[in-house]
Symmetry: C2
Subunit: 141 residues, 2 copies
Amino acid sequence: MLGGPPNPEIRRTLKAAGLRSTRQRHALASVLLRHGNRHVTAETLHAEVRAEGVKVSLATVYNTLHSFTRAGLLRELMVESGPSYFDTNTTPHHHFLDQRTGVLTDIPNGRLRVTGIPSPPESGEIAGVEVIVRVHSGGPE
Amino acid sequence: MLGGPPNPEIRRTLKAAGLRSTRQRHALASVLLRHGNRHVTAETLHAEVRAEGVKVSLATVYNTLHSFTRAGLLRELMVESGPSYFDTNTTPHHHFLDQRTGVLTDIPNGRLRVTGIPSPPESGEIAGVEVIVRVHSGGPE
DNA sequence: GTGTTTGCAAAGTGTTTGCAATTTA
DNA sequence: TAAATTGCAAACACTTTGCAAACAC
């Protein structure tokens, strides 16, 4: 399903990000951007492209995830110990973290507000605010 | 400064937490609880007790940090890739993270509010809300 | 004395890196 | 063909673990 000819739209996306369109990057971008918002780790993404028959090394998956992040195509989330997550939703938003399953879910940018932030120490500027709402779901009955 | 006789208050704290008062745990607790709120990693704490002349292995520091966390004496923060931080302030509060220096600072429990959290997926219950305010400070002139 | 804790070294995870071979533009 | 990218294996940072010796109660 992925060995075919390059998709011109993905090629354009990579170009626009200043990245050469290689077979590996194309396959990764294609999987990442195929559905809506996703939270992947290097391992899960690697498994996914390989399952489609594309040969990519794990090191390349790491490199590519970072390139994509630098290019603004992804956002990196360091939520727990364990692997980093990469979020295909790069707009400002926050997350639910299910403590039992480890699953991350977007909190849609909407009603959630953080107010009353005091001014930062060291005369610094606020670069971003991240909210994690830890949830414990009741497990399967 | 730390090789002396055990401090009875620290012994009591450990006892109350259901932990035997060993030389190592006593030294670690003593350093941790000496000043106000602190953010330590296993490495920084290890260096600190050893600088006081107490011999403790790094493995024991890790074990002890987790015991203390389980006992409610510390709170673990996983803020970035890199090492875990342990916070001696176990009351609900949030943090500034200086992106340049990596330094964590408490946001005192006060005006900061998170409002408009939608109900969690999977009929889960909210177990906690964590806010990280990323700050970029202007570096030393 | 008995069960707990320690320290070491080894193993484990997740990630990065050096570098030769390959590929892209 | 020049510059970028890949893949491998080795290195890396942080953390956990197995187990014998040491220790607290």
